[in-house]
């Protein structure tokens, strides 16, 4: 007699039950549950089959050649693909959560708007404000006042008017003094139904206040014109800060489209996040950026040291009177004060113009274009594994140059003043070495790419490059 496994029928019952419950109770988050718990079906299935085999073995019945038939493995593969897809869509990608996690309210509901009655609290001895708002926007503004004022509007997505009204009653915006802190809460966590509440809260505080904002999925969080410190924590939020007197700490903003801070007198610390763009302009204290940002980083006028630690790049700059632009493929800096240290282990072209103090540059892949402009020169050590190197030195600068390429052409504007050696093998390669006056050691090297040493004519970098490519000067070459 052919023995049949219990796993097949049980699996069918499980799937049937899941569909039945999902049609009878559409409000239950069954897709979430399936996405999270499907691997336990594999474990249960395996355990059941194992148990059956052990029982047959104990009873002395003949065992199947394979514990799992070919058809069952096919089903396992399908289950893994569907389960992983569900998990990926539900928990890894926000658009997936929107699409698959959408319930009836999101699909069929309407949006109802409510105005939040303005709350006023006399601050007394309080010196800071805490704003808690899970969904929606937060705007905190400093003003010449001795009160904290909270108002704004609420948008509630619900199937009908009465549901929205109930949700509005459950989520009142409250403001109260608690010790040295004024707490403004939007109470979205009290919501019991399926309605979606998004609160846009506007808070006015005395100018000397410190501000703390706790959110979850916020469209934007804005703080401006306060003299105290600012601290923001949210799973996802775009942050805009302007005119802040104290330190700024964004240690817990896990995901952001944009972080913008301008006119901050204290330090700026952005840590542990994933996001796109960062814009920092006129920052008085140290700037620390630690995380993975895939968009544009625009940094201007930083009075104190800058430190960026990413997945693929590390940067230290002592001061940034000028500006830095950085994206996944390029780094450009103008008017920087060193010591400057940049290492990048992904393809990235680096262009630095007008810098003083020492420069240390190490690239895995990418062109290097350097133009210090300032004299006296400081020590430079720049290396790329794969990319062109071009250094333009001030006409009257003193230096001790050690430039080399393993594979590529060499070009030297200084003529006989520097010794140019060109290898004769078919990949090219060579070096430009020598001292002009008593100056610092300048090392520029590439393993694969052309090497160019130019004399600075004072023209802007881009124009200089165009001119030089048209009017390419081949130096006298000392054959090796």
């Amino acid at each position: 007699m052919k023995r049949r496994s219990l796993a097949g029928p049980l699996l069918l019952i499980l799937i049937g039950t899941w569909f039945l419950v999902s049609t009878l109770r559409p409000d239950l988050p069954l897709l979430d549950l399936a996405a999270r718990f499907w691997p336990f079906v594999l474990i249960g299935w395996g355990a059941l089959r194992l148990l059956e085999i052990l029982v047959w073995a104990v009873r002395g019945q003949p065992l199947p050649r394979a514990g799992l038939a070919g058809g069952e493995w096919t089903l396992v593969v399908f289950l893994c693909l569907i389960g992983s897809g569900l998990y990926w869509a539900n928990f890894d990608r926000p658009w997936g959560r929107l699409m698959i996690g959408a319930n009836r309210v999101e699909i069929f509901g309407r949006s109802f708007d409510y105005t939040i009655p303005e709350k006023k609290v006399a601050v007394g001895k309080a010196t800071r404000v805490l704003v808690e708002n899970l969904h929606g926007t937060v705007r905190v503004t400093g003003a010449d006042t001795q009160e904290v004022t909270a108002g704004g509007r609420k948008s509630i997505r619900a199937l009908q008017d009465s549901d929205a009204g109930e949700a509005d009653r459950q989520t009142p915006v409250e403001a109260a003094v608690n010790g040295d802190m004024v707490v403004v809460r939007t109470n979205q966590d009290r919501l019991t139904g399926q309605q979606r509440v998004s609160t846009d809260v506007e808070v006015t505080v005395p100018r000397g206040f410190s501000v703390e904002v706790r959110g979850r999925n916020n469209d934007s969080i804005e703080v401006s014109a306060v003299n105290g410190s600012v601290e923001i924590a949210a799973d996802e939020a775009s942050v805009r800060l302007d005119n802040i007197g104290g330190n700024v700490r964004l240690a817990d903003v896990r995901k952001s489209e944009l972080i913008r801070a301008a006119n901050v007198k204290g330090t700026v610390e952005i840590q542990g996040g994933r996001g796109r763009d960062i814009e920092l302009d006129t920052i008085g204290g140290e700037v620390t950026v630690d995380g993975s940002y895939s968009g544009d980083l625009e940094l201007k006028n930083l009075a104190k040291p800058l430190r960026i630690s990413g997945d693929n790049a590390e940067l230290r700059v002592e001061r940034t009177p000028g500006e830095i632009h950085m994206d996944l493929g390029k780094f450009s800096g103008t008017n920087l004060v060193g010591p400057i240290r940049l290492t990048s282990n992904r393809a990235r072209d680096v262009e630095i113009e007008k810098f003083s103090q020492s420069l240390e540059l190490s690239l895995d892949h990418g062109d290097i274009t350097l133009r210090p402009m300032e004299t006296p020169l400081a020590k430079i050590n720049a290396h790329t594994h794969n990319g062109q190197v071009e250094i333009t030195l001030p006409e009257k600068a003193a230096f001790d140059l050690r430039a080399a390429t393993s594979h590529g052409e060499v070009s030297n504007d200084y003529g006989d003043a520097l010794r140019t050696v060109s290898e004769e093998h078919r990949h090219g390669g060579g070096s430009i070495q020598g001292s002009i006056g008593q100056g610092p050691v300048i090392v520029v090297e590439t393993d694969r790419g052309s090497l160019t040493v130019r004399k600075d004519s004072g023209a802007p970098l881009a124009a200089h490059n165009e001119k030089s490519s048209e009017d390419h000067i081949r130096p006298e070459i000392e054959k090796h």
Binding site: L42, W45, G46, L48, R49, I53, G60, G67, L68, E72
Partner: protein
């Protein structure tokens, strides 16, 4: 009929691999250990089971002595 241990291990191979596969996904979702790092465990378990099967006494050979 007496079942030999080689047959038992061979029959249990599929279910055991299925359990390990499920555990690896659980480790990814609940233990932050991504599947792309842990998948070699499947090969190791499969290899161990093959080894055990190979080492198990073979009941198809006549037991003891020779004709």
């Amino acid at each position: 009929m007496r079942v030999n241990s080689g047959d038992l291990i061979r029959a249990a191979r599929g279910p055991l691999l299925l359990i390990v596969l499920g555990l690896l996904f659980v480790a990814e979702y609940w233990g932050q250990l991504p599947f792309y790092r842990t998948w070699p465990a499947l090969l190791i378990v499969y290899g161990l089971l093959l080894l055990l099967e190979h080492l198990a006494p073979d009941s198809h050979k006549p037991a003891g002595g020779s004709l």
